[in-house]
């Protein structure tokens, strides 16, 4: 069973690696976008799913990463790839410092506090007109080369970012800290009396999560070569991220990745035809997930797909 899963994952990887030689530019962009969301969802899942702290505003670090790359490449002419470690570092440090006070909050209060952080950073960036360009946005230098090459380049860079997130999630789920986070999620006081240093591990989990999201932000900025505060801090990102994590299953390593693929591909195929009601469909989808598969696709259909399970879940969740 376990071997089968691993083989399946590598098969999936092999397909992704060879795909750019088959599909067109448009689908390459869609897939790159999917990798981006997969990175964000997987990275955020360390704090949201593993630790059980709903960091709704985790996108703040995506924006920070985007602006770190943006400012470094425009003002200081630093090569793009060199900026990525700084994206990770800025996310790590920022979340580490903010985490010390804010991770004392729990549940909804924590979620709202993270949204507050996101809005605050957005306002700061919006008003630092000289370095960030403020509301006008920031135009990054465009990469030199054939469009075909550039498409493939970002496809692979974003894929590596996604794989890095999955790898780190996998490692965390296997080592001591992973067990500590799991215990914190279930019962923080009990975890503490087991001798787990809960403030340290919570903060570390958030910092790592922010670092991964920060890298995704950096790549995004250079890829689109234009960023402005209102798109990178917020927009539909937090909602989409949450829907993906819930769809795939918050407690699993690869759940958010699968959630991202399903949601992005479906949205590209179906909803792009109904732009106006896109948000409504997303909301509806989240409601359906909560009602029918609250534990995500993975956990719910571990032993195979069945309608009975869906109905049972609905019955248990009815108001």
């Amino acid at each position: 069973m376990k071997d089968k899963k691993i083989i399946l994952f590598f098969l999936f990887l092999a397909v992704l690696i060879f795909l750019p030689y088959i599909v067109s530019g448009y689908w390459l962009r869609v897939l790159t976008q999917t990798f981006l969301f997969a990175s964000i969802a997987t990275g955020s899942n360390i704090i949201i799913g593993f630790t059980g702290y709903p960091a709704f505003g985790n996108i703040a670090f995506f924006g920070v990463g985007a602006y770190v790359t943006g400012v470094m490449t425009t003002t200081y002419n630093v090569p793009f790839l060199v900026t990525l470690p700084f994206c990770a570092l800025s996310g790590f440090v920022l979340a580490g410092i903010l985490g010390i006070p804010i991770l004392r909050l729990k549940g909804h209060y924590f979620a709202i506090a993270t949204v507050g952080i996101m809005e605050t950073i957005k306002e700061i960036v919006d008003n630092m007109v000289e370095t960030t360009g403020g509301g006008m946005g920031l135009t990054l230098p465009i990469m030199v080369g054939e469009p075909e090459f550039i498409y493939k380049y970002f496809y692979y860079v974003m894929m590596l970012c996604m794989l890095l997130s999955v790898l780190i999630c996998y490692i965390i789920s296997r080592i001591k800290i992973g067990y500590a986070l799991r215990a914190i999620r279930v019962d923080e006081d009990a975890a503490s009396v087991m001798g787990i240093n809960t403030p340290l591990y919570k903060t570390l989990a958030w910092a790592v999560s922010a670092a991964l999201v920060g890298i995704a932000g950096g790549i995004y900025a250079y890829w689109l070569s234009y960023i402005d505060p209102h798109t990178v801090f917020g927009g539909t990102y937090p909602v989409k991220m949450f829907a993906m994590i819930l769809l795939g299953g918050a407690t699993t390593v690869t759940g958010p990745l699968i959630g991202a693929f399903i949601l992005e591909i479906i949205s590209e195929l179906v909803w792009s035809k109904f732009i106006a009601i896109h948000g409504m469909v997303l909301g509806l989808l989240i409601i359906c997930i909560i009602l029918f598969i609250p534990k995500g696709i993975f956990e719910t259909f571990k032993g195979g797909f069945s309608f009975r399970k869906l109905l049972n879940n609905l019955r248990e969740n009815s108001l």
Binding site: Y179, A180, R182, A183, V186, D187, D189, A190, A191, S192, V193, M194, G195, I196, N197, T198
Partner: protein
């Protein structure tokens, strides 16, 4: 010096002071009881010993090592384990996984330790792959005691030992506690059933509104008119 030595301890929540100048000493191999009515501060004292509350004033020593406001990692590593009020098991984890979590600070011979606990409480072996949240109350208390023992503690704190359990189950748990104690582990126990706990323990402390008002040998306390009136209804 006593194994667990609490000196002049004061603490509280926010601005509200709960405990005032608590002095408690527990020797190696003793069973000591803590009595008191609801709201006296018994659970607060337990929480403070394991580091869930900050100490305002005073000190806690374990085996001569100062644990005042130390990290919970350090406190647990020094040999203090707790069975918290309401048991606080990891409900979504299996019995075995709960036991493994108990060994978080002491990872030597986890397999052997689990086997020993299963020998000790065979009921847990039958239930080892069940989720802790699905167990009966008595089994959950056994699991919580087992989890605390995985740390190989020198002292075991038990908060609200018999809360919500049937008398027959309480009897078998008392038996288990005695056997743990025979292996040299000190036990500090909070319990509402005064008769039961005075039978179990060697010494006892009585707590009233955040202060220790009475202490002594359990036998003497059982005949103490004040205790009789307040707790035994005689």
């Amino acid at each position: 010096m006593a194994l667990l030595d609490i000196k002049e301890l004061s603490t509280g929540y926010g601005d509200l002071q709960i405990l005032r100048n608590i002095n408690i000493e527990i020797e190696k191999g003793e069973i000591v009881a803590l009595l008191g009515s609801n709201g006296a501060g018994k659970t607060t004292l337990m929480r403070t010993i394991v580091g869930l509350n900050r100490i305002w004033k005073g000190d806690v020593f374990m085996d001569g090592q100062r644990l005042t406001n130390a990290s919970s990692t350090k406190i647990v590593s020094s040999g203090v384990s707790i069975v918290p009020e309401g048991r606080r098991l990891f409900a979504g984890m299996t019995v075995t996984e709960n036991l493994e979590m108990g060994a978080y600070c002491n990872r030597k011979n986890i397999k052997e330790k689990i086997e020993r606990i299963f020998d000790f409480m065979p009921r847990l072996r039958e239930r080892k792959n069940h989720l802790a949240g699905d167990l009966s109350g008595g089994e959950q208390q056994m699991c919580a005691i087992g989890r605390a023992l995985m740390n190989e503690p020198k002292i075991l704190l038990i908060d609200e030992f018999s809360l919500g359990l049937a008398p027959t189950i309480v009897d078998s748990l008392v038996e288990i506690v005695h056997r743990i104690n025979q292996e040299g582990v000190s036990v500090f126990i909070v319990e509402q059933d005064v008769q039961l706990v005075l039978d179990m323990s060697v010494r006892a402390y009585v707590m009233e509104i955040g202060e220790i008002t009475l202490s002594g040998a359990s036998k003497d306390l059982m005949n103490d008119p004040k205790v009789k009136e307040a707790y035994l209804g005689m």
